[in-house]
Assembly symmetry: C2
Homo-oligomer: 317 residues x 2
């Protein structure tokens, strides 16, 4: 009789994993650097080294129902990670099978953002919702779309790649995909950093605290810190980011008419600095029938918890 | 025992209606001008005058199961037409109730484009598909989204307003909605006409057969006629339109991952002139996992038939 499952969240930078019991409590968790390993086999070796003792301590594999994984471009139907732009592993990786063989446990895998949406639906502010969209604003931009209470997978399992939709045709190049002007190029931590570099270069006459950072040090966190100190350019960076994000959200609303859009990930730490321009821009770009109907909110789950819990929910389901 | 239903398609210009039997054959059909009547009551009077004799001839109301209506911004849940940008009737119109009272028959109503998608699913090239999108390129741009074999309605019944998604931020003003740069401003018959006027004005030095038309005479049909005669500007108009439409389709694919996108409506008469640039632009803007996977095709149903049949399917269902 299984008493726990494992939830794993593969992010562009970190991989987080935990032991989750039936009540949805994370009993233990740890992490490793995703981008440390060029080779996926070596990554799985390190994952095994860290995860095995945790499973043993929780009661061993005989008491574990299985492993749920959320991964970029993870496909629920095949268990593969396919052409993930933010990972070092290229092509099609039979990730679920590889982890299953190494760990000796059944594995289910889906898109990392879909897993986060499941976490939101089971444990977060979408508990009573049938139609919502979650957007993760992290290193990249992920999305999970829920329609009639179910994750939208599409005919091949890849639905919900909203970070790659084009918001500025001919705009900023996304190095991972080669596509110009996609949402991820602007509304991610990476995008905010690029916007900062662009604005600082374009307006050399404007003083800014951001100029005290070296180019390597400059991150979305530095932009936030400077904005909170009243820095003009830093504030404009969030205005610009929110403006673009809001337009994109308006497009998503006109596609699936959700009752809420839930934002999480690193960028949401900017709070109202990004929420206000985003909401304003979304409303300005909606046609009448959608105006003032959609709740735009930040997730109230801890980011790491949501991802692990969501991944684990794949197994309990 | 009912032997037939009525299907009604409300378009921006024409309203088409027909008597449909159980086999999906349109036994009789007629049309009236939607935009002739500023007042919706007067429209319903004319509809009643034309439709009643057809119903009588088919066996009378006692043999009619009901009326299915597809209308712009039609809401399946409420039976209302709400804030339809392409109709003269403003605000919220309880259209299903009004028609039902006048005709003495039960009425079901949905978005016109959703009705067309139902027609495609029941009688057209989407017969065996579970995930597809239909795009109507007519006076406006309509869309019906099918997910897991069901029309996507969203939490309020208004999902699938893809014509109003923004494809050129800050771009061409859509007079009906006040939104700038929406797909409908470019990829509709109206949009093609506007593109023609813009290009002719911007390039006064380039000769074009289009200059032989008066501004009033210039339509998407004239652009097609001139393009077929090898006119350079006319061909560029379709290139430009297809380029924008393809970008929008790529965004839709990255949302719901359909197996096919089915185009119909007046603009599709332009055949390869619009299909080729559209396909090329869609593929160029898709991330790897979606490339060369989505079938882009023209509907093989007669446009009027699809809309009437789709609307009628609301009642049989």
């Amino acid at each position: 009789m299984a008493t726990f499952v494992v939830g794993i969240d593969i992010g562009g930078t970190n991989t987080k994993f935990g032991i989750v019991n039936k009540e949805g409590t994370i009993m233990a968790q740890d992490r490793l650097l995703t981008n440390k390993h060029e080779d996926v086999e070596e990554f799985i070796v390190e994952l095994h080294e860290k995860l095995s003792p945790m499973i043993e301590k929780a009661g061993g594999t005989k008491n574990c129902l299985g492993i749920g994984i959320g991964a970029p471009n993870g496909n629920y139907y095949t268990g593969n990670i396919e052409y993930a732009a933010n990972l070092k592993w290229r092509g099609i990786i039979p990730f679920a099978r590889m982890v299953s063989e190494k760990m000796g446990l059944p594995v289910k895998l889906t898109n990392d953002a879909n897993a986060a949406a499941m976490g939101e639906m089971k444990y977060g502010c979408a508990k009573n919702m049938k139609h919502f969209i979650t957007i993760t604003l992290g290193t990249g931009v992920g999305s999970g779309i829920v329609i009639d209470g179910k994750i939208l997978l599409g005919h091949d399992g890849f639905a919900g790649e909203l970070g790659h939709t084009i918001v500025r045709p001919g705009g900023r190049l996304h190095k991972g995909t080669g596509i110009k002007g996609s949402l991820e190029s602007y509304a991610s931590a990476t995008g905010v950093r690029e916007t900062a570099l662009e604005m600082l270069t374009q307006h050399p006459e404007v003083e800014s605290l951001l100029r005290d950072y070296s180019i390597n040090e400059l991150t979305s966190q530095s932009v936030y810190d400077c904005a909170m100190k009243g820095d003009k350019i830093a504030n404009e960076i969030f205005e610009f980011t929110g403006h673009i994000l809001g337009e994109a959200l308006a497009n998503f609303v006109m596609f699936s008419s959700p009752e809420a859009i839930i934002l999480f990930g690193g960028l949401t730490k900017a709070g109202d600095l990004i929420m206000n321009p985003t909401r304003q821009s979304m409303e300005a770009n909606l046609i009448q029938i959608f105006k003032n109907k959609v709740t735009l909110m930040y997730s109230d789950l801890q980011e790491a918890d949501a991802a692990i819990l969501g991944a684990s929910a794949l197994v309990w389901d």
